[in-house]
Amino acid sequence: MSITSYNGSALIAMVGKDCFAIASDRRLGVNFQTIACDFQRIFKIHDTLYIGLSGLATDVQTMHQRLQFRHKLYQLREERNMRPETFASLVSAILYEKRFGPYFCEPIIAGLNEDGTPFICTTDLIGAKQLSKDFVVSGTASESLYGACESMYKPDLGPDELFEVISQALLSSVDRDCISGWGGIVHVVTPGQVVTKTLKGRMD
């Protein structure tokens, strides 16, 4: 079995009107056995910057720890939070450092710029950045996710509608992938607040 499908994962980030949403499944598996259904794939870097990591679970956790370390040092030195583009460049640089022995994870980065406009991007496992203005997906269910997002996405959705769209896209895609699913979690971020909801899906 491929190393990137050892644990199973599904992630989406979507852009709305002055907001973004980032969602993931909750399954942690070892090949076909499900080990946990509360695995955290989305991490908050600061109030308006989130990163979701798909792929090998150990690399998901290590990448998160390394990025949190770097961001905290940046905050202390520069006395400000990192902008989303800056953070994306940092993620890309850290992944490329391991070009010939990479982390087996594919991050999606979602944040709000200082002026409140949303920013999303994804990179491959060795740091090739891919900016997007509508949605980005990652994980073992990515092919289904692309299809679901493409058909369900509309630009300039408000936070509530965006939540509905991203949830439906996630749940319908993970149902077509045997190694992701077992619930979902969605964060919808606007300049003032973040609303986090868990999704009830098919627990199989």
Binding site: R77, E78, E85, A93
Partner: protein
């Protein structure tokens, strides 16, 4: 660094708690040609004397004021060769930051890293402190800024400052003339007047250097012709 006989630091404490090598380095700075900087509301100006040892020296080939990034410039007082080493290191630090974050380094971060290099040379084996103080001028998202970095590695942000020979007269002059709402053109005139105060001989575009950065955020060194124009305005 160095062979085992010099693996200890050459900069050691005196009984009174001073690092004598740093004091001596500051004296080397104090014997250097005067440099000064003034922060205006919409830019920064740095200037220095460019007294050459002989009239045979090709003055166009000498650049005391250099840029570290497109929006940060630096001038020194003290030992020229030491400043070249620091300029080289700072430029590399700025580019490393740019490569990592894909955005230009904030001035305060570059100054911090340069100062850290200077401090290393006061606490490493087989090396001596740098014999220069730097005045770093730049314009970034936090507006115009002017920093001074000393051989010890300490750094300060200034509204206006002078280093090198004649420092106390220059600073007194600057204290009298400086206003918080000064604009860049006024600051350039004030800088020239301050240099003139302690200048021996006839001041001209060939024996001073002026570097400016305005709100377009491009640091540039004025040509001798441009300097002469400002000198004429000051007369």
């Amino acid at each position: 660094m160095g062979d085992s006989q010099y693996s200890f630091s050459l900069t050691t404490f005196s009984p009174s708690g001073k690092l004598v090598q740093i004091e001596y380095a500051l004296m080397a700075v104090g014997a250097g040609q005067t440099s000064l900087g003034i922060k205006a509301s919409n830019g920064v100006v740095i200037a220095t004397e460019k007294k050459l040892p002989s009239i045979l020296v090709d003055e166009a080939s000498i650049n005391k004021i250099q840029s570290l990034t497109p929006n940060i410039g630096v001038v020194y007082s003290g030992m020229g060769p030491d400043s070249r080493v620091l300029v080289r290191k700072s430029r590399k630090q700025a580019q490393t930051y740019q490569r990592l974050y894909q955005e230009p380094i904030p001035l305060s971060q570059l100054v911090r890293e340069t100062a850290a290099v200077m401090q290393e040379f006061t606490q490493s084996g087989g090396v001596r402190p740098f014999g220069v103080s730097l005045l770093v001028a730049g314009f970034d998202d936090n507006g115009p800024q002017l920093y001074q970095v000393d051989p010890s590695g300490s750094y300060f942000s200034w509204k206006a400052s002078a280093i090198g020979k004649n420092v106390s007269n220059a600073k007194t002059f600057l204290e009298k003339r400086y206003t918080d709402d000064m604009e860049l053109e006024d600051a350039i005139h004030t800088a020239i007047l301050t240099l003139k105060e302690g200048f021996e001989g006839q001041i001209s575009g060939k024996n001073i250097e002026i570097g400016i950065i305005d709100d377009k955020r491009i640091f540039k060194v004025l040509t001798p012709a441009e300097v002469d124009d400002y000198l004429a305005e000051v007369e």
